[in-house]
């Protein structure tokens, strides 16, 4: 605990392992770190376990999953060593989530205003007036017209794009040091995607918040992040600065992933999905690894 104010990293995930109750491993010794103000993209195809890392950090893993090993340090504090209550408070104080689907992430029975201000008042101990002013200012900042009226609205009165703006405002409201953005643009249509992406980047730069950006889209990676972690079957394939990922990818899977992204494939080259042979080869390697792992455990 002594290092908490000198520790340079906002987030350290060290050798994190997660498994199903039947022993099937979903994350295999995943390590990554975020410096203050840094944006790290977490890419991989669906099922690679990228969302699970964010969920593990925030303490919202599905109940049937268990953490098999590793450590998570949030601003230098060991989350695994805490009681559930302290852990919840600590996470709420320093981290926030921008969820994937804005249509289901707002409570349909409550007005927008309290959904933003409630945590500020009840968890962060702000006054109602300060919470309300902050919420109004942030709604204005995310380009919502007539924030006062929106605060009084119910979610069903807003469009999908507007709801995602509201959720971004709510995430930035308590000035967190870390934001986990869990595929925040996947559920939106293409024109809105760009605006939302730009908004997250602008707010991130203004506030200096570190962002763990979970996505499957290499195009998004290029636009938003400084660092990239490439994940396959719950295992880190490559961890590198963003420019190097695109100019000089070290791992064949990263190359395949870039080639599979329409906007980054050469125009004269046809769009090519990640080859099945490569996937089979990687899976084989991971299976051999797992077997060796189990042998060592016995």
């Amino acid at each position: 605990m002594t290092g908490s104010h000198t520790h340079p990293n906002t987030l350290d995930v060290m050798q994190l392992g997660i498994a199903l109750p039947n022993g099937h491993r979903l994350l295999r010794d995943v390590s990554l770190s975020l410096r203050p103000g840094e944006v790290r993209a977490l890419v991989g195809e669906s099922g690679a376990g990228k969302s699970m890392i964010g969920k593990a950090v925030l303490g919202i893993l599905p109940q049937n999953l268990r953490v098999t090993g590793g450590e998570i340090l949030l601003e230098g504090q060991h989350l695994g060593a805490m009681t559930p209550w302290t852990r919840r408070k600590t996470v709420a104080q320093s981290a926030a989530l921008i969820p994937q689907d804005p249509l289901t992430a707002l409570n349909p029975a409550r007005r927008i205003g309290p959904q933003i201000t409630d945590p500020l008042v009840r968890i962060h101990g702000w006054s109602r007036a300060k919470a309300r002013d902050t919420a109004l200012a942030l709604l204005d900042r995310v380009h919502i017209r007539d924030p006062k009226r929106v605060m009084e609205s119910y979610p069903h009165e807003l469009s999908g794009g507007m709801r995602q703006r509201v959720l971004i405002a709510a995430a930035f409201a308590p000035s967190p040091r870390l934001i986990v953005a869990d595929e925040p643009t996947t559920a939106l249509d293409v024109t809105v995607q760009k605006q939302i992406l730009r908004l997250i980047r602008e707010l991130q730069q203004e506030t200096g918040t570190a962002v763990l950006f979970v996505t499957h889209d290499m195009g998004v990676v290029a636009k938003i992040s400084q660092k990239v972690t490439v994940l396959f079957a719950g295992k880190v394939m490559e961890d590198a600065p963003t420019e190097r990922i695109f100019t000089d990818p070290a791992h064949p899977y990263t190359r395949a992933l870039i080639a599979a992204t329409p906007s980054y494939a050469d125009l004269d080259r046809p769009f090519s999905p990640v080859p099945q042979t490569l996937i089979a080869e990687l899976q084989g390697a991971i299976a051999r690894d797992d077997a060796r792992h189990q042998g060592a455990a016995r």
Binding site: I60, R88, A92, Q100, A105, P119, I123, L167
Partner: protein, 263 residues
Amino acid sequence: MLQGDFGTSITLRRPVDELVLSRLPATLELSVMALAIAVALGVAIAVIGARRRGTATEVGLDLTSGAVLSVPDFLWGLVFVLLFGVLWPVLSISGRIDPQIDVDFTSNFYTFEGIVRGRFDVVQSTLSHMLMPALALALPLAAMIAQLLKQNLKEVLLQDYTTLARVRGFSETSVILREALRNALLPTLTLVGVQFTFLIGGTVIVERIFSYEGLGNMAIDAVINRDLPLIQGIVLLFAALFIVINLLVDLSYTLLNPRLRHG
């Protein structure tokens, strides 16, 4: 009939409307108390079950409410008569109020008027007479509410907005009470609306068990004595009551659901 003349009771030799209306308050107070107990109990059990989902506590609550549900109010009433009338006689098992108490009220809403007038001896006596019949009527409905509401709570608790509330630092209990409950309540409300009319139907027999001077008890006497004008009056009153309840349920449904409120 059309002028509101319901005739005269054959056995009691008094106007039917007068007789029926004098008994209505007793049945209404009993039904409302039963409903209040059922909702409070059902919601509490559902919340605890949802809070402890996946544990032995949840299984235990499920089994209990399943068993409670398969026993009708008639049997619960008799069980309470034995338990609290004989084995541990703490509550009165007959009548509506202690006959020693002098009641000179303008209405027959003893409990309600007692509260308004500050006559707490009356309130205390009526409540202690109502508790057991109300509980007997309430238990099956409470079990029904507990099962349905817990099911809905568990579904709502998988929604993204509850996850978001957990990330924001709210405890599981507070997530259930503040975020999930209101959304899960809507289907329960429909159930309560339908079942409340059934609960009032149940007062007929439960009032009989506890010699409670309400409409239901009067209805059975009327049937036994084949007092047709009285039966007719009671049936019409029950029917009117059911229509009013259905209207109230529709109204509260709109109040709870913002989507309906804004058209």
